[in-house]
Symmetry: C3
Subunit: 341 residues, 3 copies
Amino acid sequence: MVSRYEQGNSPSSPEKINGNFVGKDILSLDQFDMQSLVHLFEVTETMKDIAVNARPSDVLRGNIVTLLFYEPSSRTRGSFDAACKQLGGETIVVENPQQFSSVAKGESFNDTIRTFEAYSDVIVLRHPQTGSAQKAADAVQIPVINAGDGGQGEHPTQALLDLLTIKEARGSLEGMTGVIAGDLLYGRTTKSLIRGLALYPGNTLYLLSPQELKLPEKDLQDFSSRGIKLVEIDSEDAIPKDADFWYWTRVQKERFENPQDYERVKNRFIVTPDILSRFGGKNTILMHPLPRVGEITEDVDKDQRAVYLRSQIRNGMYIRMALLGLVLGRISLPPQGQSQE
Amino acid sequence: MVSRYEQGNSPSSPEKINGNFVGKDILSLDQFDMQSLVHLFEVTETMKDIAVNARPSDVLRGNIVTLLFYEPSSRTRGSFDAACKQLGGETIVVENPQQFSSVAKGESFNDTIRTFEAYSDVIVLRHPQTGSAQKAADAVQIPVINAGDGGQGEHPTQALLDLLTIKEARGSLEGMTGVIAGDLLYGRTTKSLIRGLALYPGNTLYLLSPQELKLPEKDLQDFSSRGIKLVEIDSEDAIPKDADFWYWTRVQKERFENPQDYERVKNRFIVTPDILSRFGGKNTILMHPLPRVGEITEDVDKDQRAVYLRSQIRNGMYIRMALLGLVLGRISLPPQGQSQE
Amino acid sequence: MVSRYEQGNSPSSPEKINGNFVGKDILSLDQFDMQSLVHLFEVTETMKDIAVNARPSDVLRGNIVTLLFYEPSSRTRGSFDAACKQLGGETIVVENPQQFSSVAKGESFNDTIRTFEAYSDVIVLRHPQTGSAQKAADAVQIPVINAGDGGQGEHPTQALLDLLTIKEARGSLEGMTGVIAGDLLYGRTTKSLIRGLALYPGNTLYLLSPQELKLPEKDLQDFSSRGIKLVEIDSEDAIPKDADFWYWTRVQKERFENPQDYERVKNRFIVTPDILSRFGGKNTILMHPLPRVGEITEDVDKDQRAVYLRSQIRNGMYIRMALLGLVLGRISLPPQGQSQE
C-alpha cells in the first residue's frame, strides 16, 4: 500500500497502525501499539460471534482476496481462506506460482504481485524469502498481509492470535508470567510473541531451550531493553509455579544441516501429563503454534488447559477476519475512548 | 462427530441415521435404513430443482465445508465443491496435504483434522487408508463425510447416487433385476451397491466377472444372507432379458502387481452397441461409476439408456447437496409418515 | 454448446456471435463481427464499474463456472476466477487433471469434459493441444470459453482485452497506427490481435521482429487480404512517429529447440525509457500480453504510457466478466441501434 515503487523502489518500513487500519499493510508486529491491539481484539470478539454461529455475513461481500502462497501451508492458507469466506468475501488461491505458469517463465516478483493486485482488494502473501512482504507492499496500492516471509521474517497474524489467546484465557496481557520453550534460536513465532508481550508492562518470560537453540544474545538484550523481564532456564524444575501460560514450540528439522544435531536436541523438552501436573498450575494454559511432532504428547490434548487444538487455532481465524475487515474499511472501529482493555 | 477421541481413542462404528441426519457423520452405507433413504431421496428432488435451474440458494449460506483430499480426485472433489456452492455455501479445498506444509513436517492425522475442524462446519475426507474416515470422525465434533477411504473402505455417496439413479429410472428399488459386471473382487462401488440393494426386498443381481475377479466367497455368503439373490454368470449370454439395469465397472490396473494379469482380464467384458442391443432390454439402463477406460465403447454413449454421463453424474451432486444440507440441519425432513416411496 | 458430438463427432466451426451471446461458446476471435464487439465493449463498461468499486453483484448468483486448466496459468485462471466472483458466481478450479485422478487413470477428454458439464454452467478451458476448445464445445451442451488452446490455437479473451485497451486509450479501433514487436512467428496473441484489428477500416501495423521470428508469408498474405495494411520493419528507426500503440511480446524460450538460437534473438528488441522517448509519441500506449522477461525494462513501468501492468490486466478481467454474464444470458445487451461506438 502507498506505493513507493514509483519513487525509486527503495525498501521502506511498514506504516504504524495508530488506531487506523484502513488501507494499511499488515507486515510486522512492530506496527501495533497497545491501543491498536485493544481495538483489534474488540473487533475480533464480533468476528467470533459470526464464525461460531455460522452467521451469514456481508462484511466482505463484493471483495476478493488473493491468497498467494509461494510456500504452501494448508493451515495458514485455510485459516485466511475461511476468514474471508466467513465474512462473505471471496478468495483467489494461488499456490506454488514459481512451479507453474508465468513465474516459471521468468516473470519478476513485482509483475506477479501487480497482476494479482488487478484482480483483488487485498493480497495475503506467504513467501520463503525474508522481506518479501515489504517488497510486495511497496509494489502495489492495495493492502498486503504478511502470512509469513522466511525464517528470519515475520508472521504477524500468528503473534496476534497468540496474544489474543493469552488475553482471553488470563484476562489481561499485563503482569503475565510465561514459559517459552523449544527453539528460541530459529523460531520466528517465539520472537514475535516476546516482542508483542514487551508492549505491555510487568511481563516475565522464562526461556527454556537446549543449549544449541538459545535466544541469541543480541535479541536477549534488545527485548530486555523494551522492559520485559527474560529469565533463561535449563530444566523444567526451574519453571515457576502457576505460570499464566506455557508456549511450547517445535524444533524445526529443516533448520539443521546435520541430522544428528537435530536428533540430539529435538526431544530435549517434552510436555507429558506428568510434566504438566508437576510443573503447571491449575490455570496455566498450554500453547503451541503447531504443527507439533512430539513436543507435546497426544495424551495431553484432553487436558482442558491445552488450548493449542482449541482456542488457539480458532483465534487465528477470528484475528484474520478482523484484519481483513479492518484494512478494507468494512468494519468500523469503536469510538475512541470507549474501549477499555 | 461425537468425539470418542477423549474417551480412549478406541475405534467406533458410525451412528445409524434413523431418520435424523443432523450432526451425523456419513461414513458407511450401513448407517442407512430404508426409511432414511426414502427421506434422503425426497430431499434430493428439491436439490435437483435448485441445481438444474441455477436457482440462487441460501441453504448453506454462512457455512464452510473443508474438502480434504489426501488422494486428489477431480471428479469427486468437483462434485462436493459444486454441491456446496449450489446451496450458497463455501469450501476450503486442500489437496495432497501430505506433500505440503504441516503434514509433510510430521504432523499427525488427528492434528490436521482438528485444525480444519476449527475452520469449518463439515469435513469431506478422501484418504487412501481404509478406516480413515472413521478415525477423523472420532477426532472431531463436526460431521465428517467419507468421500472414499481406501480400496477396502467405503464411498457411501457413490452407492447412494447409484441407488437414486436406479430408483429414478425404474421407479423403485424393490423387485429389481440387475447385472453387475467387471471387477467384483477389488471393486468398492460394486460391493456398496449390492449392500444397498440388499436393504430392499425382491432384488436379484447377476454377477458377471472374469474368473480372477469374482466376488469373494465370504462376501457372496454375507450378502446372500441379507436376502438379496445373487447369481454368478460367465458370459453375456447368461444375462436375463429385460434387466432393469446393467452396472459396468473398470478393472483397476492399479490393483494388479503383474501387468500381464491385468492385460489378460481388462477387456474380458466390453459393452458395445451390439452387445447392448443383443442382451439389453428396451428399458435397461446402463450405469458405470466412472472413470471408464474402454469397458463401454464411446459409440454407446449416444444410446439414451446409457446414463453414466447423464443422470448418474448429476445425481451424485444432488445427493451430496442433500447430505450437506441435512447433516448441517439446514434442510428439514418432511414430516414422518407423509413420505411414500 | 449445441452438441454435434451425438451427430457423428465431426469437428465443427464455432458459431458466429451476430449480436447474440446467449448459450454461445467463445472459441475464436473469428466469431466476432464489429457490432458484437461494440456490444461487448459496452457491457464491459458496466463490469468495470462493479469491479472498481467492489460493488456486490448478483449477476452470476447461483451460477457455477468450472475452470479446467490442463496447463496451469495463474494469471489467466486468476483473471477468470476473479471475473466470476466479482459477479457473485462461484468457480470449481481444476488444475493439471492429467496428473491426478481419472485422467491419469486413462479417462478420455470427452468423459472429463462431460463430467464437469454436469457440475457447472460454463466451462473455461486451457489446454496445450490446439483444437481442444472446439472438441470440448462439441462434447457438451453448456458454453465453453477458450482460455488458450496450444501454440497454434487461439486465446480469444486475450485478443479482446487488447482491442478494448486500444479502444479505451485511443478512442477508436479505426484508423490506428500500431507497432507489433517480438515473436511474430510463434506468437499466438499477436496473430489474434492482427485479426481483430483487420475487422476495422484504416488500420496500419508495423511489424518489428528478428529475421528468425517474422510473420509467416501465408499469414502476411491472409491478413493483408482482409484490408489491414502490414509493413515489415527491421529496426526501431523505422517506427512511425506518434503511433497509437506499441504491442511488445516475449520471445518464448519454450518454442526453441536450440538454446543458442533463443539466446541470439531474445534481446533483439528491448523497450527502454530511451527507446520510448526517441521513437514513441506523447500518446503512444505501450502494451504487452505478459509475462515479460526483459523485453521491456522495469524502469519503463512508471511511464504513464505503459499500460501493461495497469489497464491491460484489468481489462482482461472486465472482458471475462462481460463474456460470462453474456453467454449465460444474465446480462442483457443494450437495444440494437442505440449503441454507438
